[in-house]
Amino acid sequence: MSEINITVTVNGTKINANVKPEMNLLKFLRSQGFYDVKCGCEMGDCGTCTVIFNGSSVKSCITLAAQADGGTVWTNKGLGEVDELTQKLQKAFVEHGSIQCGFCTPGMIIAGKAYIEKGGKPDRNEIKKAISGNLCRCTGYKKIVDAIYDVAEQMSK
């Protein structure tokens, strides 16, 4: 099948590439060297591939690269270089010990950022709902919720 040409701005850099129509955004990002976007279940369940696409969090494994044509994508690493909120979350994750194997962390930070940015309050139940699409098999979630709560509290002051 014929390839299509797409232009996607990833972490502020314009990337132009030919992709197969059935390639997903996750594979596209990783093929371009954005290895901080992790590949987990690949069917929209685990959330570790979550990125910010045109201002909203999306699961890149169930988004086609073609759908991102003309759009803007931010990954956890890219945001960590420029976005203050993401930096705070990254720091809080370290301080609270919210990272064990670290595989879910990029998705968790994006989910936390999306929650706080949409006016999310320091409310444990609401935070749990906000990260309900992200699986963590190590921490038992408590420390992740602690970290997001901490930042939400800082931001609401």
Binding site: M1, S2, I4, K20, P21, E22, N24, C39, C41, E42, M43, G44, G47, T50, F53, S56, S57, V58, K59, C61, I62, T63, L64, A66, Q67, D69, A111, A114, Y115, K128, K129, A130, S132, G133, N134
Partner: protein, 299 residues
């Protein structure tokens, strides 16, 4: 069986119309076109090897003229590609169709609702689709467009079975039209899942219209209990024109439980669904009645 979801076992050409007219033209011109909106169901289905014939993938999410929520002549109109997360936070929806917003908030993860659309949820036609019971009780009409013109169907007419609907190969869903509920109308949505963000084991929407202490109009829809979302007409009939009290709610809920013929599947069992249906319908009726301005029903 283990399914390798890293591979999409299909190949297709990609189409991206910018207008509705262009999309309809493409649908008429090509064979085996699959309409892609958010892709949160379709892409997962393709990856898990569902038997879907697709030679052309047509992304309609970029069609701006199908992305809107507006109130016109007492009708709430929602464009088919409006993202679920936009609907759940919209003022018009929260004011006129609150249980649609509640149902969407109970769906999947935020990152999925940001991509998923209302048209996609309807066209996916799952018996467990969470927007379907609310739209059924709100008496929503779906506008289907083809090159020959448009037609209007109810949600019940639209969906025919699990994953099946009446859309012809050259048609697409373009708009959802919902009459703004009258004064003194209340509705409730309840779904049961194992954990948040799951697909429903069972869900229900109830709408009640009140005149003084009587319910003059009642609609009850149940999801995940049949091949498609169903209305339970005998239960609605039992409520219509009656004075609403605990007894009536329990009676109607029992009728629902007796009427439905759910199955055992990987999310739940028929036995549990019959039992819990009684409980959630009773609860939903109590909430709907109170929201319609009726007196609180105590146990």
């Amino acid at each position: 069986m283990h399914v390798n979801t890293r591979i999409m076992p299909v190949e297709f050409e990609y189409l991206e119309p910018k207008t509705k007219a262009e999309a309809l033209e493409m649908l008429a011109k090509y064979d085996n076109v699959k309409v892609l909106a958010g892709g949160t169901d379709l892409i997962v289905k393709l990856k898990t090897g569902a038997d879907i014939k697709v030679d052309y993938m047509m992304n309609v999410k970029e069609i701006e003229e199908l992305n809107y929520i507006k109130l016109e002549d007492n009708l709430v109109k929602i464009g088919a590609v409006t993202p679920l997360s936009t609907i759940e936070n919209n003022e018009i929806i929260n004011k006129y169709l609150p249980i649609l917003s509640e149902a969407i908030k109970a769906m999947a993860a935020i990152a999925v609702r940001n991509m998923g659309t209302i048209g996609g949820n309807l066209c996916n036609s799952s018996p467990a689709g969470d927007t379907i019971p609310p739209l059924t009780v709100y008496d929503a009409k779906l506008i289907l467009a083809g090159k020959q013109g448009t037609k209007e169907v109810s949600v019940e007419e639209f969906i025919t079975g699990p994953g099946k609907n009446i859309l012809a190969q050259d048609e697409m869903l373009v708009e959802v039209v919902v009459p703004a509920p009258k004064e003194n109308t209340g509705a409730a949505f309840i779904k049961k899942t194992r954990v948040k963000a799951d697909i429903s084991k069972i869900n229900t929407a109830v709408l009640m219209e009140r005149v003084e202490d009587k319910c003059v109009n009642c609609r009850i829809a149940m999801g995940s209990v049949a091949a498609k979302v169903v209305r339970i007409l005998p239960a609605e009939e039992a409520v219509r024109g009656q004075k609403v009290d605990l007894n009536l709610c329990q009676k109607a809920a029992q009728i629902v439980s007796d009427e439905i013929k759910p199955i055992d599947d990987n999310r739940s069992t028929a036995e549990y669904r019959k039992e819990i249906a009684r409980v959630i319908v009773e609860d939903a009726m109590k909430i709907a009645w109170q929201r319609s301005g009726g007196e609180k029903i105590n146990d």
